[in-house]
């Protein structure tokens, strides 16, 4: 049932490998940071090697206990979470987690978060020396911590600074993960491009909240949380479309993917790869179904490589309408 097996079975295969700048993935499907632990939690349900890459939970220099419960609640077609960057901290990560991560049969992307530019630099310096890491994903957009986090992600100058600091410390491919909680995502994309990012990933969660009407208080211990899941997909696709127009960097698109059609939507909008987050909660087999569906789609539509899909809805539209890339 693995895509590779399928490919052989069906003869003429569709090329699933994608190159995003310096990051080559055997297929374009990545587990989204924070939703897939440290890679193994789901292995009974979905083989680790299924994934093109796995982005592990965001790491900070110091260990963090995260926010008080409740940390999540459901909203219509969405998940609202306020985990608050619970993680073992850099030292423990290097000691107890990274060795096991190195053995995973997939590209390991380490997601990093900080509360100052120095935090990010420290993380990049330290992780940049380690073997077995395919890329660093700079989370400048986590909305669940009271200070830092979101600020970097919503201010173009700070975003650029953070990315530049990471860039200086490592030769690993640098993925800048953008927050959707901004007026103009293109401005942020240009800022991280200037900062030296190799790849842009988006979107992180939308800032939201939910109130328990019987108790007359916010549901989440942290009051606010980040909204993910199918509910946010239209916003995410729009932002991928916009960023594809604004910068030349490859894009990892995410937000609400629960099936291959959703993944194709992101690719056609401009993404070179996609991440699946909340979709795993709904069904751990989503990545398998996405890969199978992607292959079938390419075959039906006559594409020999998934890379051909990237931005196709934009280029075909431009060809059809001469509207070029005008904002809708």
């Amino acid at each position: 049932m693995l895509p590779n097996e399928k490919k052989e079975a069906k003869g003429a295969g569709v090329e699933l490998e994608v190159c995003l700048g310096g990051l080559t993935l055997k297929n374009p499907v990545i587990a989204a940071s924070g939703t897939y632990g440290f890679g193994r939690e789901y292995e009974q349900y979905c083989p680790v090697e299924t994934w093109g890459g796995i982005a592990v939970k965001g790491i900070t220099p110091e260990p963090r206990a995260g926010n008080p419960a409740p940390r999540l609640t459901e909203t219509p077609a969405g998940v609202l979470n306020a985990v608050g960057l619970e993680n073992p901290g850099l030292e423990e990560f290097l000691k107890s987690y990274l060795p096991r991560l190195r053995n995973l049969p997939t590209a390991v992307i380490v997601n990093i978060s900080g509360f100052s530019v120095e935090d990010y630099a420290l993380l990049a310096r330290s992780l940049g020396r380690e073997a077995g890491i395919a890329a660093l994903e700079v989370n400048i957009s986590c909305p669940n911590v009271r200070h830092g986090g979101l600020q970097f992600g919503t201010d173009a100058r700070s975003a650029q600074e953070v990315v530049a600091a990471v860039r200086r410390e490592t030769d690993l491919p640098v993925i800048a993960k953008l927050s959707p909680n901004v007026t103009d995502i293109r401005e942020l994309a240009r800022a991280v491009e200037r900062g030296g990012a190799d790849i842009i990933s988006l979107i992180n969660t939308l800032l939201g909240m939910s109130i328990d009407v019987e108790q007359r208080r916010p549901v989440l211990g942290n009051l606010f949380g980040g909204l993910s899941g199918p509910a946010i997909r239209p916003v995410a696709v729009r932002m991928v479309w916009e960023v594809y127009q604004a910068v030349a960097l490859p894009i990892i698109g995410m937000g609400g993917i629960t099936g291959w059609q959703d993944a194709v939507e992101f690719l056609l909008a401009g993404a070179s790869a996609v991440s699946i987050g909340s979709g795993n909660f709904v069904n751990p087999r989503v990545p398998l179904q996405v890969l199978e569906g992607l292959e079938g789609y390419c075959r039906r539509q006559g594409f020999s490589s998934v890379q051909e899909l990237t931005g196709l809805a934009q280029t075909e539209l431009a060809r059809r309408t001469h509207k070029g890339f005008a904002r809708g």
Binding site: T35, G37, Y42, P68, R71
Partner: protein
């Protein structure tokens, strides 16, 4: 294979439909490895709203028939959607998940339940009895109607001592399950000497009943307190106890709770806290089954974490889905703001 499509063997109301309780029997691979206290993470429908799976405890396990039973209350959108699923359909289920209760090797096992917290305890009672443990149930619910709907009959069939309470006093003691539990404990600690005094202070009927049943064959004589209106209880519950036959009449070593005593507790958070504090203070091995909202169910999202403390009081986080849902009562930090 812990990700499976279990076949719905039967699905319908449990007891009075007005109570909104449902019984769901699934046939498939989950039964092979399921342990009491574990749960299934159920995709209630193939729609995107409700989106997330719902954790539901395994209430009974029948390995021979490859069946597990899940009992639930229709509460919100997830359980409403689940309630519409029909026998013959297949249900997308992760599990069995979580650690489950630890089944003591020997000694006595007290089950303490509040409301639908009773559901996961049935499988544990079965397992405990199969191992030859002395099993005793303390259970508080809204009303007699609720308890009867939620499986009182089946519990009676187990022939173990039942200590019941209801918020409206319609069966057993009036009040939460801490009333019969606390009463029974106190009697066992203070001994018969103080009993009449306790009765005079207006202690609960269950407490009195328990005392009565310790004194003599149960259900024979009522104290003053019992006379107040617990005939029904006496007839039903004490009857069950006397019929239980597993234990010597009186049900409990006089003057002291049994030395090798384990508690398994499930119910609303406040109730579990109260019960755990009672038991931990007395040095019993207390296990509580915590509830948190869950996304992944497998330890990947950190959405269900709670704070625990070790012997030295150091705080750390545990995942209810993976490290729990069952935790030692002494480790749980009940203050939610931590």
């Amino acid at each position: 294979m812990p990700l499976c499509y279990e076949e719905i063997v039967s699905h319908g109301s449990l007891g009075d439909p007005a109570e909104g309780l449902r019984r769901l029997v699934l046939r498939g691979s989950a039964a092979a490895t399921a342990r009491p206290g574990q749960f299934l993470h159920v995709r209630v429908s193939d729609r995107l709203e409700p989106l997330l799976r719902r954790p539901l405890s395994i209430a009974a396990i029948d390995r021979a028939r490859e069946e597990v039973t899940v009992l639930y209350r229709v509460r919100g959108r997830g359980t409403e959607a689940l309630a519409q699923r029909q026998p013959g359909e297949r249900l997308d289920v992760l599990g069995p998940l979580g650690n489950g209760f630890s089944l003591p090797e020997k000694g006595e096992l007290w089950l303490v339940a509040g409301g639908i917290g009773i559901f996961p305890l049935y499988a544990l009672a079965q397992a405990g009895l199969a191992r030859g443990l002395e099993v005793r149930l303390f259970w508080g619910g809204e009303s007699r109607g609720f308890l009867e709907s939620a499986g009182l009959g089946q519990w009676s069939d187990l022939r173990i001592p039942l200590h019941l309470s209801t918020m409206d006093g319609s069966l057993g003691d009036k009040g939460a399950v801490t009333v019969p539990l606390g009463g029974y404990l106190k009697l066992n600690q203070t001994g018969p000497a103080k009993e009449s005094q306790a009765a005079r202070r207006g202690r609960s009927a269950e407490e009195a009943r328990a005392a009565g049943s310790r004194r003599s064959a149960p259900g024979v004589e009522a104290t003053e307190a019992e006379a107040a209106g617990v005939e029904a209880l006496e007839a039903e519950v004490a009857g069950v106890e006397s019929a239980g036959g597993k234990r010597s009449a009186g049900g409990c070593p006089a003057g002291q709770p049994p030395r090798d005593l384990s508690w398994a507790v499930c119910g609303p958070r406040g109730m579990m806290q109260a019960v755990a504090e009672l038991g931990v203070a007395r040095g019993f091995r207390v296990e509580v089954s915590l509830e948190e909202r869950m996304a992944c169910g497998v330890g990947a999202c950190l959405g269900c974490c709670v704070t625990v403390r070790d012997e030295r009081g150091r705080r750390s986080k545990r995942k209810v889905c993976q490290d729990g849902p069952v935790f030692p009562g002494r480790e749980v930090v009940w203050d939610v703001t931590e």
